[in-house]
Symmetry: C2
Subunit: 889 residues, 2 copies
């Protein structure tokens, strides 16, 4: 005889957690809860094999199913002490579908099955609440009528609305038991009218109707389409779980509540939760009555903790609390009901928690021996560290959302609106908090971004200039908030019907991308000892090194404080915009007089040498990768007439000649233009100046810190071996000259960015000339997908929303496309140069999923913004552990 039905709860538990294929997800969960000794309301599960047999056999059940179900029903009656259809003490059940995987489109749940004109009176008596009983009955008819019998849901709603109108009441709760009785009659009349059938009064008939509806829904069009889309075979079938309903509102020996095995907001190891005596589950949530605390220790004056009111049930719950943590080895969220002093557990699952709680629970559990150190590492979502590292909005603060953009750089900040970098500095000098609002930012805004509390742009994506720079300096940033109109001339911001002026306050939440009206209170970050513990464990577990992208001493110090093991990307061009330098940069670009050009370059070399000495000193021997000039020259050009006039005066040249030269430097697609090593080849004096500055700085800094310094010089935008060969040869010549001048030894590495598809495709050739590779996955994403990060805002959000792309490829690396090229670059590069040092310095270096990918393909390090270093350390540890697990399995 085939066993079609598996009981659970009470004294008879026939299923196990592993029987998911047979019992469905819900059935297996219930069996697992019962099997570890939780008092779940008794019930049974009809297996998925019944579903398969049903469809094989022209929608007929196996012969012996009926008998097995009846038998199982009796098991429930015995366990719960009630009778199915019993007028005095009626057993009610829920009927739920449950396939192997959760699947929309199928019938979900019918509650309170077993109610009819007679059992409803029994429920009224036992609960002492006729209104509740009749309301349950009304709801049951509505649910069963629509889900099982196919009466449109809105027809029931129409009747209810009419009744309320006639009774002149606003709210369902104002309808009395007597009035509900009438409504039930109307409902049943509706069912008869719509279907030509009486609403079934026999609970057994009701039950078989619900079971049939579950199996029927397996083949409905919505479920079939979903299966097709997700490659779920129809043969899997669905199971049906039938379970006793229990009620927390049958007297003062009844209660209902929700609790957590630990405090989900702090992670503290205390029993945390709320309950209500003589109430239904929804009352706890609805907030009509004030829920009471669980433990005496947590009760304030006048509160009635469950520990006092229902000591037996509380004791049982306390027992279950440690049982659960012992079994699931995690903090659990529990829904329970006490019915006539008997505790029932309705549901338990891993509890949602704040970032702080996740950290504390993981560390505590490891200390308690409940989980291993490795498991603790895996328990904390790396991205949640952002909440710990940055100020957050006070969850209690009132707020009015103005608009929403991209969560470009985490943290929360409030300030007065200003529109220019200059204005930011003016206000910041007066210690006023300001938010810089721009359509988009450019390198000239960097000093303003630094002085602002936060940055808001209306255009650009997650790797737009604003986003990258803000993350780099740890400033809050919301980018690409397209719903906001900025009018620079009128100095206004228009959004959501509000028109804000310069000086009006707004608040940014860089973690969600929300922009709020006015000043919303924020709370500062607090880093606990647990944070340091976790980081230490992560460092033990990870293989990937973590460096930071930094140019300034301040950023380098931040990076070090967050545990960076070097600098993976110092963007020399960021050093060009300081007011005392940009003039020289412009003169260098704009003049055609060799002497004037040499003068400008000489001036810049002094600055750059000092910059690099500062960086090398700060990093004190840790590796520092300096990228030579990368962006197109036109980024540095004078924009306005005044700036142009300044340059003309400095050079003693005609302003019209300079204007023409400026125009000649403009490009249709600057991202694909005259930049990177192409500049190094056409204007070799610029790279020579930078390399000279690096070599001199390394020698000088080594003397100061008393350790050898091996600078890593990185040549950007290489597409061919020949480009690297020539720029490398030129750099080596310069370094040799410096060594000869200074009369000391200097070791150095010269490597390249792999940021063009061609570089990855021909990495075995390029590796001949490179001591190391650093994958520039921002640019590689742009070229591989043909996607400008500055322009993608017009369609990329739609792509992600519609599922055309799983995620923004500038946030998390596109493993199939861009990732394939990175993998190719690694493999080919190491074919030529085994064990070659390889890292990644794009924005993906701070993204946990991307880091897992980089671990899997064997990179040596990732480099990210200083503020993302802890995230990267943790993600790298998780990736290493997961890889180890996979290797073992």
């Amino acid at each position: 005889m085939v066993q079609w039905v598996y009981c659970f709860g009470g004294t008879r538990n026939e299923g196990r957690a592993e029987m998911r294929n047979l019992l469905g997800g819900k059935g297996a969960n219930l069996a697992e809860m019962a099997s570890i000794g939780l008092p779940v309301p008794a019930g049974f599960t009809i297996t998925t094999e019944v579903c398969t047999a049903y469809y094989k056999n022209a929608c007929a059940y196996p012969d012996d199913l009926k008998a097995q179900v009846e038998n199982a029903l009796r098991h429930i009656e015995q366990a719960i002490g009630m009778g199915f259809g019993d007028k005095k003490n009626p057993l009610l059940v829920s009927v739920r579908s449950g396939a192997r995987v959760s699947m929309p489109g199928m019938m979900d749940t019918v509650l309170n099955l077993g109610l009819n004109d007679e059992t409803v009176e029994g429920l009224a008596n036992s609960s002492g609440d006729p209104r509740f009983a009749w309301d349950s009955y009304r709801r049951f008819i509505q649910m069963y009528g629509s889900v099982v019998m196919g009466v449109p849901h809105h027809r029931f709603e129409d009747i209810l609305e009419e009744a309320k109108h006639a009774l002149r009441v606003q709210d369902d709760t104002e309808i009395t038991a007597e009035q509900l009785r009438v409504l039930v009659k109307d409902y049943r009349a509706l069912v008869l009218g719509e279907t030509g059938k009486e609403f079934p009064t026999d609970p057994h008939v009701q039950l078989w109707g619900a079971i049939g509806a579950v199996f029927g829904s397996w083949m409905n069009p919505r479920a079939s389409t979903y299966r097709k889309l997700h490659d779920i075979p129809a043969e899997w079938g669905t199971a049906v779980s039938v379970q006793a309903m229990v009620f927390g509102n049958m007297g003062d020996d009844c209660a209902t509540g929700v609790c957590f095995t630990r405090d989900p907001s702090t992670g503290e190891n205390v029993f945390y939760g709320e309950y209500l005596v003589n109430a239904q589950g929804e009352d706890v949530v609805a907030g009509i009555r004030t829920p009471q605390p669980m433990a005496i220790a947590r009760a304030e004056d006048g509160q009635k903790p469950m520990e006092t009111v229902l000591p037996e049930a509380y004791a049982e719950l306390s027992r279950i609390r440690s049982l659960l943590e012992g079994h699931y080895r995690d903090m659990q969220d529990i829904e329970f009901t006490v019915q006539k002093n008997v505790l029932y557990i309705l549901q338990t699952r891993s509890g949602k928690r704040t970032a702080a709680a996740a950290l504390k629970v993981a560390i505590d559990m490891a200390h308690e021996g409940l989980i291993t150190q490795e498991e603790a590492i895996l328990r904390v979502p790396p991205s949640s560290l952002n909440q710990l590292l940055h100020p957050a909005l006070d969850p209690k603060a009132e707020r009015t959302q103005l608009a929403r953009g991209l969560p470009a750089s985490p943290g929360a900040a409030a300030g007065a609106i200003v529109f220019t970098a200059e204005d930011v500095e003016t206000h910041a000098a007066r210690d006023e908090d300001v938010i810089l609002v721009r359509i988009e930012t450019s390198p000239e805004d960097v000093h303003g971004m630094h002085a602002a509390k936060g940055v808001l742009t209306t255009r650009g994506g997650m790797t737009s200039h604003a986003a990258v720079v803000a993350r780099g300096m740890g400033r809050v940033c919301v980018a690409g908030a397209g719903g906001i109109q900025v009018d620079y001339k009128a100095k206004t911001v228009t959004a959501g019907g509000h028109v804000l002026k310069e000086g009006d306050w707004i608040t940014l939440d860089g973690g969600t991308g929300s922009v709020y009206l006015g000043r919303v209170a924020t709370i500062p970050p607090v880093l606990s000892g647990d944070f340091a513990t976790l980081m230490g464990w992560a460092d033990d577990a990870r293989r990937l090194r973590v460096r930071a992208n930094a140019e300034t001493i301040a950023d380098a110090e931040t990076a070090l404080s967050f545990g960076a093991e070097g600098i993976g990307l110092a963007r020399t061009e960021h050093m060009f915009f300081a007011p005392e330098r940009i003039g020289h940069v412009r003169q260098m670009i704009m003049t055609e007089n060799p002497a004037l050009r040499a003068r400008a370059i000489e001036a810049l070399q002094q600055f750059q040498r000092d910059d690099f000495i500062g960086l090398f000193r700060t990093m004190a021997g840790l590796p520092v990768t300096i990228r030579l000039l990368d962006p197109p020259l036109h980024e540095f050009l004078p924009h306005g007439e005044n700036e142009l006039a300044d340059v003309a005066a400095a050079l003693g040249e005609n302003i019209e000649v300079l204007r023409a030269r400026r125009d000649a430097l403009s490009e249709s697609n600057p991202m694909l233009g005259h930049r990177g090593c192409r500049l190094g080849i056409t204007a070799p004096e610029i790279y020579a100046m930078q390399v000279r500055a690096i070599a001199q700085a390394a020698i000088r800094a080594a003397e100061i810190v008393g350790k050898p310094i091996v600078p890593e010089i990185m040549i950007p935008l290489v597409a061919t071996e020949e480009e690297l060969k020539r720029t490398r040869a030129a750099a080596e010549e310069t370094i040799k000259a410096v060594i000869a001048e200074e009369g000391v030894e200097l070791k150095y590495d010269i490597g390249t960015m792999i940021e063009l598809p061609r570089a990855a495709l021909t990495a075995e050739h390029i590796a001949h000339e490179a001591d190391f590779f650093s994958f520039g996955t921002n640019d590689l994403t742009q070229t591989t997908l043909g996607l400008s990060r500055d322009d993608a805002a017009s369609f990329l959000p739609l792509y992600v929303e519609k599922g055309i792309l799983p995620r923004d490829p500038f946030v998390s690396i596109d493993q199939e496309g861009v990732g394939a090229l990175v993998r190719m670059g690694v493999t080919k590069g190491r074919t030529t140069r085994p064990g070659m040092k390889m890292g990644i310095c794009g924005e993906h270096g701070g993204d946990p999923d991307s880091i897992a990918f980089f671990e899997s393909i064997g990179l040596d390090y990732v480099s990210c913004s200083p503020f993302r270093v802890p995230v990267a350390r943790l993600a790298a540890a998780q990736a290493a552990l997961q890889k180890r697990e996979k290797t073992i399995a």
Copy 2:
């Protein structure tokens, strides 16, 4: 005994053509010429093994070398009837180096070796020209002194200059024999002073000095570097060839000349060439005396053909002419000298020829049975067909070059300068020839480009808009002529010191990129029957199909006339710019009112349907691939205020609103922007309109031509399978609706461009949704190399010039990078869909080298501009034949 020396010429020929490794390139060539019975001046070659032994043995020669050389010298003396060092009848020799491969950096040649104070008199007597004898002696000392003895070359030049100054003569030829005699003394004194050694007078000492210098030069730094760069092993060594000098200036029974076995400018099968009695080779070239014709048939009145003057030598030469063609199986270029009635062949090689001659010679030789049909196909360089298909500059016409740009579209054209498309049309309407001069062109200039004779731009590369469009319509184009300044306001063109105004004439040579002042005469193309014969043979030999890129009926007809087998790319956006359409396009883009947008789309659909009917009718059942809208919408936007006002009026909208919308559509990097299928997804109504027009047109055209038409709909800029899946599904829905409306059947293919690296990398997925692939190698080159074709002019020419890139990758596909992606796309796509139809529609479709690559990776077709179709047919045939050869070998 090892044979170190191999003789040739006279009666003793010991080498063979295949002994290149032993005899070096030059030695093997001389041996080959001698071995087929050509009267080469006798000589011998010292093998490369001597060089190797020399270096192995601390720079000492093998013991028996001296004896073998002396022996060989005697062979020369006997063959030529002169004595080495003989005072009366002195034998002079040349000494040349010759490695397996030609190699710069080594000693090249010493001529007239054997001269000294005594033999020079013998030469003076036998030539009857003491000046010649002493000048030869002077030159010998200079050559030997610098090359063998290491005296700086300029020191000899200084003495010569001083002498001329003292003698008050301008030209070397004015120095008399007596004066030369003094100069020789001075030269020898210089050698003694510089080297401390007397200039050797013993011819044997001279000879060994020269041999030693050749071997010594094998290891000099320049040669070593060259070998290192080109992976040539030092062990290969060099050979030394020593050969008798013969003189055509020793009397009236002497002569010298150059001839071709056929006419190198027409290809006609007549003996063609020039000679001079009693002259040196350089006299023929120098033009002081007028060379005479070879054959009586070619002689005009008063000329003295060789056939009459030196009948014996002429008869011998005629014999050799057919001997040579029989042996080398190609038209040969011959250098000869007659010394005392004895004919000597100095050199023979395949003769350079015009495109017309190449064609005629190949076809004739095949008809004569000298070569096979396949060889004939391989003999004509495909790119030379451009000369036959387009007007060319009259080679006799005088010309002044103004500037030089890129040879963007072949042919020659002269016309008056105009600056706007509108002005072109005004002049063209009056039948005036004009050249459109622009900094760069945009789609709005297309109608003007069509009406102009040629197009000149100062910016942009080989695949800039101007270049691509001009090639497509067969207009002459010189692009990216950076040396020209265009001032639209002043309506002037400044170049090379000239300032030209509107209306001034210029002439373009699109085959070389030259721009000439004024009107240079051109000659029209003439297509011979041989052209058709060659094309027919090529069609038999090729596997690749050849389609054309065309949108208009006129272009399609041109394509058909040139033998196109279908349309591989019809760019629908080119159809949007006609004056009666662009308004609707702008309204469609600019309005946000759905009704107005629908109205504009409806209007465009009528136009597009008619366009497609025209194309389908013209191609009459041949495949036609229509690409849906590709460029970013902003390309169609109104630029000026008037245009903006027009759109505002048509839409009844505020001009400020429209201006804002226009600005919002502008992009930082439009090439990587909101275009292609991204538009199809965000604005589906545009693709729906186009697909509907295609389906309706295919049905209508099929009725007209009476054949089924299977349109190929191509979706551009696909990066992910999901994009194609959705756009394909939408297109199929539209087609189904049309089929239902029309009540007829319609077959269709829906495919995609593979033009982004990601598409190639994930082609196995994309192939699930594509009936065919067309590789868009223009865009693929831009993204793979990160190179904007519009901006590359600022460094790409330098890259090619410096050898960083072997060729412009927009002209000839970058096989290593872009080619790797195409190969990957082919392989992966056919893994999913075996035998999938694949082609290429980038500009590389007309480039012979690229076509060879496409043949090698198994594409089905190439598609190129109509005017390049013959080039592609021939290149495809050559590629197929070469592949076959490789397979056999």
